[in-house]
Amino acid sequence: MQTDPMLAFLIRRTGQSAIVVLLMATIVFFGVNVVGDPVHMLVSPDADQAEIERVIRQFGLDRPVIEQYGLFLKGAIQGDLGTSFIFGQPAVQLILQRFPATLELAVSALVIALVFGIPLGVYAGIRPDTRSARAIMAASIFGFSLPTFWVGIMLIMFFSVQLQWLPSTGRGDVGSFLGIESSLFTLDGLRHIILPASNLALLKMSMIIRLTRAGAREVMQQDYIKFARAKGLSFGRIVRVHLLKNIMIPVVTVLGLEFGSLIAFSVVTESIYAWPGMGKLLIDSVLQLDRPVIVAYLMIVVFLFVLINLIVDVIYSALDPRVSLTGAKS
């Protein structure tokens, strides 16, 4: 009987993802246990001797490392990665509480980057030899070189301190719409998100410009564009229908992958703007040695990453018929 190639692909790809998560969990576990001190990871620094011994027994730290590794994995599968010393709450719960704030920041940044990046990239690709196209490309190298955290500070200095137009810290009022809570639904919240989202967007804008430009240049030389022009279609229509459609596949793929990096990079932006997301929580935890939260953050982000990669891969293979589902290439 012939199996469905898409199903086989899904199963194989999910299996690979599971292996990656397991591998990263192993690295994080041994990183903490071999490099760091596991007792420090589990008890707060000001615990007394009796407390320390109680924890050592409770978490089985007197047992062999392999057994402990098994216990760690068991806990991880059940969603239990320890309790924060600072907040006294389960670490996973703490991070998930802050996840919506990070998500809305990353999504807003992505939208800003796309709205500016794609038109600029398309223009630079269609008219590669004009002065403005060269300027766009030079600006994209410049954007690439800008230290995100410094730009964040400069945005605060200019828009919050000098002009006093926009607030510099926090998330503002959080509104609720269709059961989703987000600061995107209130005017105050929107005012708060403009600076951090633009700051985070800057990082990806240069990349989107370069990617779109490369795609546009390639597509413009294809026969079907020449044919469309010969047919007498207007230039605007060629760009909208034939060009954009064909450069979207690589752009969407890379964007999917880059979305994860936006979440990782929001660590920096959240620290500057005191945005109450999980990135700021991570930095606070690193500074306060709240190790269960660090481990939980790393595990959740790795999981998120592998999940995004999986989704992008599946969408990509569904969109692009040239991708072979049965091939050995992963």
């Binding site: 990183g31 230290p147 410094w150 690193v286 660090i294």
Partner: protein
Amino acid sequence: MSASLPSSQKPRFKDTSLGVFVSQFLESPVAVVALAILVVIISLAALAPWITPQNPYDLAQVDIMDARMEPGEEAFAGYTFWLGSDGAGRDLYSAMLYGLRISLAVGVFSGLIAMVIGTVIGLTAAYAGGRIETLIMRLVDLQLSFPAILIALMLVAALGKGVDKIIIALVAVQWAYYARTVRGSALAERRKEYVEAARNLGLSPARILFGQIMPNCLSPLIVVVTIQTAHAIALEATLSFLGIGLPQTEPSLGILISNGFEYILSGKYWISFFPGLALLVTVFCINLVGDQLRDVLNPRLAK
């Protein structure tokens, strides 16, 4: 290239392969200016102790009464704070040049170590082939599918602060790029006739790898080195800004910017602004030079 030169005439510089490379590089005025600025920046950093009015980390030379002076104000000791002073009364110009030294040293040093490790691993993968190659390349792909800052955060969280630890983290972040690049070009080289000839001559695999194949992989490697050094400098600054990179005793540009951040809301912009500008100009110039190098050395990879 210079095969048919008359024997009486010495080859002129511009006909040698190095000469061609130099003249092609010089074709872009932007890259030349960037390189010139870079040379100035490196010289300033190297000469810091001799061209700054104070050693910002010698407590005897720093006066807390001079704290947060605006650019152009005069210090107690008589010299002028051209770029202002920071929260501890250090001359910002001096602190920046000393900070540049640390930033450049950490970036370049970690880049070089990563290059050596990545090159050896990449060459090994290309030469060994089979299971070893698959294993190494899977590892490279795995690492490259995560953003550099996440890997660095993970390592710094496990290792802690310190110059040595941040260098380890930067090397761990970068090696995979080198390994991938070198393996790619080594695979192409391995099939060429001169490698076959060397093998027939009975040269050892190590000699073929490092003596024959490696020199031919240098062009793409040089491009990666430039871009990665810029990345490393920016990443170190980011981690140091977040307070999880270098310690306060090794004040790189990132730490100077971080120190200035607390004064931003009171309008004292210069403490963060100038060190950030220095960081930006340095990274930007390295990237511009790298971009031109890529165009000259590897037309296939042209933008």
